[in-house]
Amino acid sequence: MTNSSPPLEQAVEWLIRRNSRGFADWAELTEWLEAEPGNAEAFARLSVMDAEIAERMTGMLPGELQPDGAAEAPLRPAIARWGRRIAIAAALVAAAFALVFVRPGAFLAPSYETIATAPGTRQAIVIDKGARVTLNGQTRFAMERGNRRIAQLLYGEASFEVRHEPSNPFEVGVGDARIVDVGTRFNVRFDGRETQISVAEGEVQYRAKGMTVRLGAGRMLKAGPNEVQTSPVDRSAVGSWAQGRLIYRGDPMATVAADLQRNIGAPIAVDPAIAATPVTAVIQLSPRPGEMPPHLESLLGVKLLRQGKGWLLKSTK
């Protein structure tokens, strides 16, 4: 590198070297930092950005929850309060409350219109003028016949784009929780057990078990049977499957396999030995349905074996 180039240009060179494995030129770096007053500042600035971006990618920043009564009060606290009672009440009692206060997706009546997609297929649905949803493959989705803005994701993955209407909010149920939009673009995934909600724009409210969590743009919520946690998410990655791209930051291999199966349409199994292995990768889906993405083995660090009509992801060892 030349010493005549601006500090930021030199900082780029130094940061790439510093981030390379086995970097040992620390004395030389010290001398460069001391050489010009602007060098240390340029390097500080760039290294902070680099660290923040890398953490966004790995989702390492701690998440936070906002239980009821937190600084940002839920819009309709009554629902959260009733929600807590419903969670412990018998189904019949819950249904009675629900008539007045919530519309429970858990009690799917015949008044719901259900749409199911096969693995490897997609379906776009125009709910109304202000709301659209794209269903990923292997997904079951239901909408109330009288009011299509009340929906339920029964299984799979869907990406939503919703314009907020205060008088007629959009609600999608997942398991026994409700997601209420406040004008937004968001993605929901539900495997029958765990729910994952990512928000690209605007804000949604997640309501379950007496708790309301406000989830803003760039945030993700994971809810299992016993726990709810939020973390940052890359906004451009939200619902990226609809653009033919799968983006992961430390997600378990099993999730990746489930996504591949949903998107490609062939059964994809994972060796249990690597099911929990964290994956950080960007996978470009093939435009041809049923075809595995290129370079999958090196992107995931696995061996890809043919298994019946599908594939098996195995450890390379």
Binding site: T30, A44, D50, Q243, H295, L299
Partner: protein, 203 residues
Amino acid sequence: MRRPRSCAICRRPHPVSTNRPSEDRKPLGGLELVYWERRGELLRFLRARASPDTAEDVLQDLWVKIQSVRGPVEDPVGYLYRAADNLAISQHRSALRSRRRDDQWEAVRPRIDPGRLDEAIAAREQIAEADRRLRQLGFRTLQTFIMFRVHGMPQRAIAKALKVSLSTVEKDLQRSYRAIAGLRSDLYGSDEVTASPEGDNDE
């Protein structure tokens, strides 16, 4: 056990041992010995990397940090520098954050020209923008960056995995970091920019 003031590696008394924590507790591990041997140059590095006023504190944090390291470290000198560097980055980050609350940035980093303070503060808000620029570089470049920065893969291994040349990996990393820094990357030719067949359709 060797006398604490005499280094087992250099066989000389230590140049600086002012804040050496109490002796006689346990034998020093390899990392601790190297810490005391290299303390002078680590301090010099941190004076330049963090700030002259906080270098001693950061070095003390480093000492505390290595107390909890279990087992041998492959490259102790590299480990200490990297750990010191990470502590300096954390300090810069918290300085940027607290500055927004109570103007502490100036106190922490007096070497920065006050005229450029706003620029430094704006950096915090510019991170999202830098992230977006990075993602616009195309699929292969983003993949290269992730493999390099998140997985810590050597550049040769990335080249092999992506089936591209080593110089392509180098150029992709250049482009990634230039994008993060907000620098123009036309230095490397437009063919590299469009080399990703899909381009990028993020907003």
